[in-house]
Amino acid sequence: MATVIIPAQLRKLTGGKDRVKAKGRNVRQLIEDLDRQFPGFSEQLLQDGDVKPSIAVSIDGEMGTGGVLEPVGEDSEVFFLPALGGGRENPGG
């Protein structure tokens, strides 16, 4: 299962845990599993069926470009963090 590092403001959903295990072959399945374990994740992370524009996903140290379709490995380390570029209002100079 992948390890998901929980951002500070979502740790209330995990009872304060900063990392949890979740399964899924892509980000969609991973979020679904997180939501099963800790209800509320889908609402926090998804909008119109995809990752919210304000959120970026880093998998094994690389920023994903595929939203919910981004593949997740069996032992991947997954971070959800504020997005830069594309999905935000100040993409950089």
């Binding site: 470009t65 935000r88 950089g92």
Partner: protein, 765 residues
């Protein structure tokens, strides 16, 4: 040959050819947005709010519309009402209601200069006269000009619909977002620390200061299609956002990017573009809108002013143990300051085990902020890099050594968590430490030297490229990335490198939105990285096709043909190696023309670090700070055209020094901007700056075929703190507010003298 950091020897990359667009620019032939004129063209002007915060009770346009020569008058009622939520517009997600209301105020004006109506007339003078005939009835409200005022519980509310998660759905607020980043236990970290420094910093709202004001020519055709000519960093962004604001299908708009006279992030959004189309639709004529300097300063996006409280602690041998930061950024009239980026950059160069950052995005009655070169990072570094300098001083450790000791390396966790891949931060500090500048002695009274570092993420995003081979063996490179900092030359060099051509045999072209695949903005230091990657792949596509043609000529399989150093070869009797030029003349007989194509959604972005050393002399009688010498070291991955890379490093440093010493928006008590021209909004000139020295550091980005990192932004991050640290070492005062203008420095010096005199008097008594 130029040596590559990843072991390649390049023939073209790393050299310094004359830019392809140079002659057109220096002879005045290059066409900028305001240079476009069309038969029957009308001139548009915008009526702007004289109040910082007011309800619009009514707008009467009858008298203006009746003025001879006036062809149309529009207000926000002529634009579709858009939903107050984040929505996708093409490839971007924005609150469309906010975007539309920033372009034309609907119910309220939210800053001095907010657009309330627009006119199209047969001359600019008639259009200006018509503006005076528009009657707007305002109910003036108290302005909220700072984050401190805006965050008070009883503050006037700018946007009645604005809510945040913490205060809940029933509580109107000016705080759009609160972000938090947390690692370890800061209380425990501070307990272990021998030295703790805590200060509050304020930085002023500043403008990008691009020389060319915004402009747009809109041409609406009766078939429902429109063309926009404008100065922009992103023609596809203009298309997406204009379509959303106008309620038009995106594919019905073509955007032709003009040459651009600077942007620095400020031209990644829209202001005039949809209005030019709407006025053209109403009049049946092309309509040109251009801003004055005052309009640019009053009504286009500067970057945020900010308040940052920063506390950091270390052991006496110099190990950083904890950092706690509270930061609030002015978003302007609508949410969207770069506070998230500020939070994620503020201690990004360091490995700190215990960290707590709270960051707030706050609306105030100032223009909606836009991106400005490493948005949010310079404000942040002013705070953290000043404190780092103080901690190094307390430990008695050289500031470069302190940074090397605590600096981020491959594997160090970033603020948001993911570990860095291969980065070159330490190398930038070492480059400064070993520079002739840092090794030189700085002598004389009131002189000091300061060091600071900076980080910027860089972004990847999407780019498209086409490489065409002509029958004479020359090539053209077609891209959608607007050329701000030497893009054409860099892209031509990449194609020339791959194809084995002379760089002057490659013609680079920046084209419109109908002529190339989607390409994101020239911003985020992404263009050389991502568009360069697309050009590299498109050129490789050309090589692949040419191998097929050579194979056909030689009656070989394509995989039997090799290509190196500009020559196609294959094993076999009578086969003579061929250059592209020789092969290009045979294309018609071997299958027809060749175009290589590639698109990328670039991954594996390499972040950028810079370290800067600045020497200053402070006039103790006036507080004026003179920059004596400045050197910047930056990790650029691989410099494609070193002159343009150095230009970016120098340009960012110059802007950072302006931010440090002089630039700020002056608002009066009514929230009216008082310095609306470049005489009063004081950017540095060549008389204020020495030649800025550069050290190019090349630590290639893993995964990129050329190892490129973005180079356009990070050099603006260290200068404010480097200057503040230099002032501290020159005259012994720690500056905590930007700009460090003569009155502020003098005030700090006088306070220091007063304290010293009081202490002397106390000691004497």
């Amino acid at each position: 040959m130029a040596a590559s950091p990843n072991g390649h020897d390049y023939r073209v990359i790393g050299t310094r050819p004359v830019r392809h667009d140079g002659i057109e620019k220096v002879t005045g032939q290059a066409k900028y947005g305001a240079d476009y004129n069309f038969p029957g063209m009308l001139y548009g002007k915008i009526l702007r709010s004289p109040y910082a915060h007011a309800i619009i009770k009514s707008i009467k346009v009858d008298k203006a519309a009746a003025l001879p020569g006036v062809k149309a008058v529009i207000t926000a009622n002529d634009l579709p009402a858009l939903p107050d939520k984040m929505e996708q517009a093409g490839e971007m997600a924005l609150n469309m209601s906010h975007l539309s209301a920033n372009i034309m105020a609907r119910d309220k004006v939210l800053y001095d200069g907010h657009a309330v109506a627009a006119v199209a007339a047969t001359s600019p003078h008639i259009a200006e006269e018509a503006l005076r005939l528009i009657e707007v009835d305002y109910e003036v409200l108290p302005p909220v000009m700072s984050v401190e005022e805006a965050m008070k519980p009883d503050a006037p509310i700018l946007l009645p619909g604005l809510r945040n998660k913490e205060e809940g759905p029933d509580k109107p607020t000016n705080v759009a977002t609160h972000l938090q980043f947390k690692r370890g236990d800061v209380n425990e970290g501070f307990k272990q620390a021998d030295y703790v420094v805590e200060r509050e910093f304020k930085t002023a709202m500043v403008h990008q200061g691009y020389i060319e004001p915004h402009n747009a020519v809109g041409i609406y055709n009766p078939d429902g299609h429109a063309t926009i000519y404008c100065s922009t960093q992103g023609s596809f962004v203009v298309r997406s956002l204009s379509a959303a604001v106008l309620g038009m299908p995106e594919g019905n708009i073509k955007v032709v990017p003009a040459e651009i006279g600077g942007g620095f992030g400020g031209k990644t959004t829209i202001y005039l573009e949809p209005l030019s189309v709407l006025l053209s639709k109403k009049t049946g004529h092309p309509v040109k809108l251009t801003m004055s300097r005052a309009e640019v300063l009053r009504a286009t996006g500067p970057t945020s002013g900010s308040t940052i409280r920063c506390k950091m602690g270390c052991s006496k041998d110099g190990k950083l143990l904890a950092a706690q930061i509270w930061m609030a950024y002015e978003a302007g009239a609508f949410p969207g300051s770069p506070v998230g980026a500020g939070a994620m950059t503020i201690v990004a160069p360091y490995n700190i085990p215990n960290l707590l950052i709270d960051a707030y995005d706050v609306v105030v009655n100032r223009p909606k902020t836009a991106a400005y070169r490493a948005p949010g990072a310079s404000n942040a570094a002013m705070a953290s890099e000043t404190i780092i300098d103080e901690l190094a001083e307390k430990c008695g450790i050289d500031p470069c050594d302190f940074r090397i000791m605590n600096g981020a390396r491959e594997g160090t966790p970033q603020t948001a968590g993911p570990p860095y891949r291969r980065i070159g931060y330490i190398e930038t500090v070492e480059a400064i430490k070993n520079s002739p500048h840092y090794k030189s002695k700085l002598e004389g009274p009131n002189r000091g030297r300061g060091v600071a570092s900076g980080f910027w993420f860089n972004v990847g995003l999407q780019s498209s490229a086409i490489v065409n081979i002509h029958t004479d063996g020359t090539a053209s490179v077609v891209i959608g990335s607007v050329d701000i900092g030497g893009t054409r030359a860099a892209q031509a060099m990449i194609a020339a490198e791959v194809l084995g051509l002379d760089v002057n045999d490659v013609r680079p072209l920046v084209t419109d939105t109908d002529s190339i695949g989607h390409t994101d903005v020239t911003g985020g230091s992404r263009t050389a990285f991502a568009t360069g990657w697309a050009v590299y792949e498109a050129a490789q596509d050309v090589v692949r096709q040419l191998k097929e043609r050579a194979a056909k000529l030689w009656e070989k399989k394509p995989e039997e043909v090799s290509f190196a150093n500009g020559l196609f070869t294959a094993q076999g009797d009578g086969i003579k190696p061929m250059t592209i030029k020789e092969l290009a003349g045979r294309l018609a007989r071997t299958g027809g023309p060749i175009s290589g194509r590639a698109t990328v959604n670039a991954r594996g972005v390499g972040p950028a670090f810079a370290t800067t050393v600045i020497d200053v002399e402070v006039d103790p009688d006036t507080g004026k700070v003179q920059i004596l010498r400045a050197t910047v070291a930056q990790d650029v991955g691989k410099a494609i055209h070193p002159s343009y890379v150095e230009g970016q490093m120098q340009g960012g440093t110059a802007q950072g020094i302006g931010w440090a010493l002089n630039e700020e928006y002056f608002y009066d008590e009514r929230g009216i901007l008082r310095n609306t021209g470049l005489l009063d909004y004081r950017m540095p000139t060549c008389l204020d700056l020495p030649m800025i020295e550069t050290c190019i550091v090349e630590v290639p980005t893993p995964g990129h075929p050329l190892g490129i990192r973005g180079v356009g932004e990070v050099s603006i991050v260290p200068p404010p703190a480097a200057v503040a640290n230099a002032i501290a070492h020159a005259v012994g005062v720690r500056m905590t507010e930007l700009p460090m203008s003569p009155p502020r420095v003098l005030k700090a010096l006088l306070s220091k003298r007063t304290r010293a005199e009081a202490q002397a008097a106390a000691a004497g008594s």
